[in-house]
Symmetry: C2
Subunit: 467 residues, 2 copies
């Protein structure tokens, strides 16, 4: 969305505010003061470069920050320094135990009947091939479901190639069906005797930049090497296979497991003036895959949530009623590690987690607001949506999940909000070397912060209960 | 351009033909028969998958084919077999001596004050760094011109970083100014004592896929390693430099020179029925850089020229008056090697090269026709342009150069035609790993063949002289 569109849309604000619904006697209203402050914050956010500057700093000074690596530790030091420099009331870390995995090298090529290099990347947490790699015929399996049904006699001793294509949707709805090949394909292929597995990248682009992402093994099956081909390379293999001759490829993936290391969730708080123990949880993850600089995944989320909380402390006369807690989770990409350990550590304190939301879907504009809150607080989310309407945000009817990380707390009882982003282009870049700062539209980043200040300020200031 | 647009535009044909200019008494007219056959060929070409099938075959079965490599030799064998299978009247090769260069490995990273990997590729024919690479501070030079003016004291012992950005134009006009950094930067940097040179890719995209391309050294200056950064990496370095601290990087480029080898220009002919010794030269190059599969550079040109000549032999009642000679030049990317040796070998036969054109600007549609022909034959090119008007082609006033390869013959007296293609996106892909079949629009490829059959058929059939 362009700046011009924001400004045009903003002329509708007065109307929307005056049209607010009459409330039942037993619900706690959102005060006019709160609405006005939220609108002021929103309008200032649309003019602020703060999030972009945070993102520029993270991607330039730290860059790739694989969970469990020294670079993730460096990112945590960067985050602590940044939150302190911005003047957050409290900045602290909580330890997270992470099983460290290292990518060493990866290469592949077609060796017969044609010879061509293939652009691949090891999936995250992939096992290694034997040193020097392996050469075998590939067996083409269209989907994970087809692999489940495949005869082991057709798989044994071969390299499984799953070619399913992810479809493009604004909501990212194409990811779930396609990503099973990545998450679960290796275990199933190994069960049927495959020597390795390669998949078409779970992504919507056509560049020679394969998409990594976590693979999961299962007890009792050998951990075979698992890699993704770039989409043009998957096209190439399919064209070769169309010729009807057996295709042999060589795959060499070298990786290493280092055991447990300690990383940290980094937390910054703006302390509530009345109920400091009650927190609004604002989540994102600090780690990234190692191929890119983690600009959209999830530097954008870090920047949006940090900038939103910082803007509220900077621009309001007094601290909001409740505490704003920004949590930059560790090692999300390796399996929500930081978030799961946060939920475990704070499970007895769920009652003080008033509501939470997460930003982890790139830097596309927020287009919808969904919630999972008590009946008596639905009107507050409606008010948030009204205040976000000039940003192009609509109220969405589905129940919020809270995002992968913050969702760990929603699962154990915390109310949640989804600020749903337009992810049309997200999977062009997701988990690739192409996840870099130039892909982020600074105007869309501002729009995100504008939506987030409305949510966070009202959630922290409104005196009622979302639970 | 879409198929629909072609069909709509085609309704204008009858009008255009009837509006043909009255000719002076001393010029040889293009007969109605010739026009009608050219129009028939054009319309059939718009419906033919022949060029796409040739391109699919080359990119799938051969792929990358670096000049001087065994893969280029393989491509020549593929081409001989393809031309024979298509039924060309004569298929033969002419030897070309090529100095063989090999890319072994390449890597780079920022080492201080930040640590980040950089995506680089060695420029073609780059020297190697010492084994294990070199580490040095970078000195930021905006352009080649600025490097010419730089004080050697600022360059000595450093790695030169030239950051000029190529601008996007339909004609590719941004290439010339920017590419000097690639072609001549290394020699100038070496003259001033640099340890290596890295440049921003000469390309218009924003992907982590650097653009290679030839570098030239000069006698008397040390051949320093030369590499290109992907554009997002060049952005990153610039952002780091903006912070005002010295930036050190590590660069490791391993390459090897193997001395002279023999490659081949591959030639296919449709023999003229009246003047077989007079040839219409239809050029493209068979080699590609090693990073991609050479779909747009220059598999498309191979496919367009071969399909056009083949279509003329298949669809006309008799062979055209003159010979159609399709030349697939060897090792163009290494410095027009095949074309220069063709011009040398055929310099005494220029008189029989009636006219020539080249396809080496990707698979974008032809939008203009330029010429360098005798005054008395300008009207023939005008007629070609009229027949191409339904394809969206306009007559261009500039003098034709004939393209890099075919231009070697134009320089020594052969008339030339430029079928100018829309290169708006060409430099997004040019010389990168992303130069793959999926980037080619099959409809645009058909449009190219349709323009080429009009040119080639009329040039071969018209009885007059272009010289
Ligand atoms: Zn993420
Ligand atoms: Zn070329």
């Amino acid at each position: 969305m362009t700046k011009h569109m924001f400004l045009k849309a903003a002329t509708g604000v007065a109307f929307l505010l005056s049209a607010s619904t009459a409330l039942k006697a037993d619900v706690v209203p959102v005060s006019d003061d709160t609405r006005e402050t939220a609108a002021m914050l929103r309008d200032k956010a649309l003019k602020s470069d703060a999030a972009y500057e945070i993102l520029e700093s993270l991607t330039t000074e730290v860059g790739p920050r694989l969970g469990g690596s020294e670079k993730e530790a460096e990112a945590a030091r960067w985050a602590v320094a940044k939150l302190k420099a911005l003047g957050f009331d409290k900045v602290y870390t909580e330890p997270v135990t992470v099983s460290k995995w290292e990518r060493i090298s990866e290469s592949a090529s077609v060796v017969a009947p044609y010879t061509q290099p293939l652009s691949i990347t090891a999936l995250g947490k992939s096992a290694a091939t034997p040193e020097g790699g392996i050469t075998a015929e590939i067996v083409h399996i269209p989907t994970y479901e087809a692999l489940l049904e495949a005869d082991p006699a057709d798989i044994e001793g071969k390299i499984v190639f799953i070619s399913n294509r992810m479809e493009r949707f604004k909501t990212g709805a194409g990811y779930g069906p396609a990503v099973q090949a990545r998450g679960k394909g290796a275990a199933e292929a190994a069960r049927k005797g495959a020597k390795a597995i390669i998949i078409r990248s779970i992504g919507t682009d056509s560049h020679r930049l394969p998409h990594t992402g976590g693979v999961n093994y299962e007890e009792g099956t050998p951990p075979i090497a698992a890699a993704a081909l770039s989409n043009p390379d998957a096209d190439l293999l399919e064209r070769m296979l169309d010729r009807g001759k057996p295709i042999s490829i060589h795959v060499d993936v070298q990786t290493k497991f280092h055991g447990d290391v300690t990383m940290h969730n980094v937390i910054g708080e703006i302390t509530g003036r009345e109920k400091p123990e009650e927190v609004i949880l604002m989540g994102s993850h600090l780690d990234s895959w190692d191929l890119g600089t983690g600009a959209i995944d999830d530097g954008a989320g870090v920047a949006i949530t940090v900038a939103a909380a910082d803007m509220i402390q900077d621009l309001t006369k007094e601290r909001p009623r409740r505490t704003l807690r920004v949590v930059l989770f560790a090692s999300e990409e390796l399996g929500l590690i930081g978030a799961k350990q946060y939920a475990e550590a704070h499970k007895d304190d769920v009652a003080n987690h008033v509501i939470g939301a997460e930003s982890d879907f790139g830097a596309g504009p927020v287009w919808a607001l969904a919630s999972k809150v008590s009946t008596g607080s639905v009107h507050v989310v409606d008010t948030m949506a009204q205040l976000m309407q000039p940003l192009g945000v609509v109220r969405h009817g589905r129940e919020a999940g809270g995002g992968p990380d913050v969702g760990q707390m929603v699962k154990i009882g915390m109310p949640g909000i989804d600020l749903m982003q337009d992810g049309t282009d997200y999977f062009d870049l997701h988990h690739t070397a192409d996840d870099t700062l130039d892909k982020v539209d600074p105007e869309a980043l501002k729009q995100n912060v504008a939506a987030w200040v409305v949510f966070a300020y009202i959630a922290a200031e409104w005196p009622g209960d979302f639970r």
